[in-house]
Subunit: 422 residues, 2 copies
């Protein structure tokens, strides 16, 4: 989570329509009036302004290009079918529509693919088909996939210690960890994302990485690398005891990937995935003051390219006429991680799930797995229904408990609906 | 000129090969070693680090996307022909090659088109076909073209006062100027780009626009709009007396364009030119702290899209199967401006030239016109030879006197060579 909103779930907030960033007129005018300005300052870093910012991050901070390369754009066939009225039933027994779900989850853009065809595509607010949106923690699944590819190609040995690749980390929490523990986030590290705690490590993380505007009195680490060197072990726990979801693990993985490939993450991701899958548009990473990509949450893509990546994953790596990612890598992700280690994390909406190579792996029976961002950004794959749903969103509450119930009910209802189509 | 180098032309500097930013290893490593870092700070804002920065501006500052849109990429046919050994004769009578010219001018990328085919394409240093480069004042010709289109479409009346469109400028140098005077830069305005003068207006311009890193003691205007409101008339002159090349005129034109179209410059340029010509890649503008594009020098494009735009201009606006720009707009530019008003500017290498709609118009006999950036960035069109040359470069000296002689001699020799081909 890069841009904290510090809202309590009880806070009354404007709904999808009331908070529509296009209707708000943010940043419209030459110059925009003072009350319509959004700057990269702490005061502007919250809902509802966030709804504009998540689709315009590059106007606020330095970024690195993920080039689509010189090749042709891959085909993403369309067979439109209006599914906005497909119904689902909420926790109170009320019948709602797929459109209701999109509104409840503050959707900025959503695309449904069935059997490889785009059947539904809808944009809200300031989003459009060629405008990138911040993926936040969906980023982690891209980086985890790159890590898993390198493990598969034996360029990384996941049984080796992290410090085999990045000796600089010897005195940190990662000094006695393995790469596999990083990939599956079973690392014991003192890293809190509790924004109500002024001493939480997330403050230094976000301000050093440049993903959060710096407060005037900020005197912490100046770069992401400097910050990573400050990470200490949580003395009450050993690695591998259980799953702890910590953004910094993805930053450590990115460091390993850069060291092994000798390339910036932006270049390696472009060459290894973006170009091969025939992305239609460049993507971009937020970067810190020395060009280091925010691997834990700083990736921005257009919605249709997120859909292409979802289809790469759903099709066991085969897309655009080639094996973009080895099928074994996807199979390994889909098998999931250790459920016994995942359970203690206590995710009420993800019972029976697990975490593997920075993907969230759900119901085995339907081959369900997800990349998940904290404001509702999501790649959702239901293998059995041959369905991929990608969503960019800017929900005011950074909360699974609020976001998951309508999302899960609507997605599963849609899967059922699609399976029943002749 | 956005990034001053403050070199004297007599200063000894590293040559093209010695200053190659790839060989220098700038920003390589995780993290890069301290002596290889390039940050957006005054100390790093100079040659030879500039050779890396001009191809990586988005990693240093906030930017706005110019989308290529959802359409197909236009065809840019290739018929490669090695012209690197075509010869020209320098001022001392020595015979040199086209490759010598590229080295002498610190070329980062160069493409030659003849009769619509790409016949030559070469990249140096950290450039490659899908990496944008800062166009600097070539930007002005894009903005001037947009202005001329709006005049042609009667959405702007160029005989009207500037304040008809932007009343906010009433108390500035532009209070009694017409739009035409802005388009042809015959404005009397107190605006100096003499970097040796600490009171030169360029310091506030560049720091308010965010195109130059701010010095710690900067207390000038915070945004580009705030800066433009400070511009005073040069009391010794009236508008229209002669041509004065002043970057701020393009910023004023951009303000008019935004006001008339109701759109950010980045959006209007995307819709009106970039999408219609079938650009292969997004381009981008540097922006200030409130998202205002640097219209005087902040545009960045890939080389092949600069070539596409050059071909649009050479073909009287027709490209990609459509009339991208009305032919009358191009004809007006090619007819040039008032040579009598251009002459007093005293450009030794541009005798007999003129300036029209922010294009430099050269030898009538061959239909020569150019977009020119101060470090050697250039779109060069020779209508008679059916030749378009686009070049990105990072010459240490911001000087026509140094850059023009080899460029002009080599380009004219190449035109002759191509005309002699059967």
């Amino acid at each position: 989570m890069n841009i904290p909103t510090k809202l309590n779930v009880q806070d009354p907030v404007e709904d999808q329509d009331q908070s529509d960033p296009a209707k708000k007129g943010w940043m419209v005018g030459c110059p925009p009036p003072a009350d319509k300005l959004i700057k990269f300052i702490p005061a502007d870093n919250k809902f509802p302004k966030m709804r504009w910012s998540l689709a315009n991050i590059r106007q606020l901070v330095p970024t690195a290009q993920i080039s689509r390369g010189p090749g042709p754009i891959s085909n993403l066939p369309t067979r439109y079918h209006d599914i906005s009225n497909v119904t689902w039933v909420d926790a109170e027994g009320k019948t709602k529509t797929f459109m209701d779900m999109m509104n409840l989850t503050y959707t900025d853009g959503l695309m449904v693919l069935h059997k490889g065809n785009v059947i539904y595509e809808k944009y809200f607010g300031v989003m459009n088909p060629t405008k990138p949106h911040l993926a936040m923690s969906v980023t982690k699944s891209f980086v985890g996939t790159l890590g898993a590819i390198l493990v598969h190609e034996k360029l990384i040995d996941d049984t080796k210690p992290v410090i085999h690749y990045v000796p600089e980390l010897a005195k940190t929490a990662y000094g006695d960890a393995t790469v596999r523990q990083v990939l599956d986030m079973t690392i014991s590290v003192k890293y809190s994302e509790d924004y109500t705690d002024p001493n939480a490590e997330v403050w230094n993380y976000s301000q050093s990485a440049g993903s959060m505007p710096r407060f005037e009195d900020y005197h912490g680490p100046q770069t992401l690398y400097e910050f990573l060197l400050t990470l200490e072990k949580d003395k009450e726990h050993q690695h591998d005891e259980r799953f702890w979801y910590k953004t910094v693990n993805t930053e450590i993985l990115a460091w390993i990937i850069r060291r092994v490939t000798g390339k910036p993450l932006a270049i390696y991701l472009s060459e290894r995935i973006w170009q091969r899958m025939g992305a239609a548009d460049d993507a971009y990473f937020m970067v810190d003051s020395i060009g280091t990509e925010s691997a834990g949450g700083g990736y921005n893509t257009c919605l249709h390219d997120l859909a292409r990546f979802g289809e790469v994953m759903r099709n066991r790596g085969y897309f655009n006429g080639q094996q973009v990612i080895p099928s074994e890598v996807i199979d390994d992700i889909k098998r999931g991680g250790d459920k016994a280690k995942f359970a203690p994390a206590g995710y009420e909406t993800l019972k029976g799930w697990s975490y593997r190579n920075m993907w969230w792996v759900g119901q085995d029976a339907v081959g369900e797995f997800e990349a998940r961002g904290i404001h509702g950004q999501r790649i959702h794959i239901n293998s059995k229904a041959e369905m991929t749903i990608v969503r960019y969103a800017s929900h005011p509450h950074a909360s699974n408990i609020i976001n998951d119930p309508p999302t899960q009910a609507a997605y599963r209802a849609l899967a059922q609906y699609l399976e029943n189509l002749k």
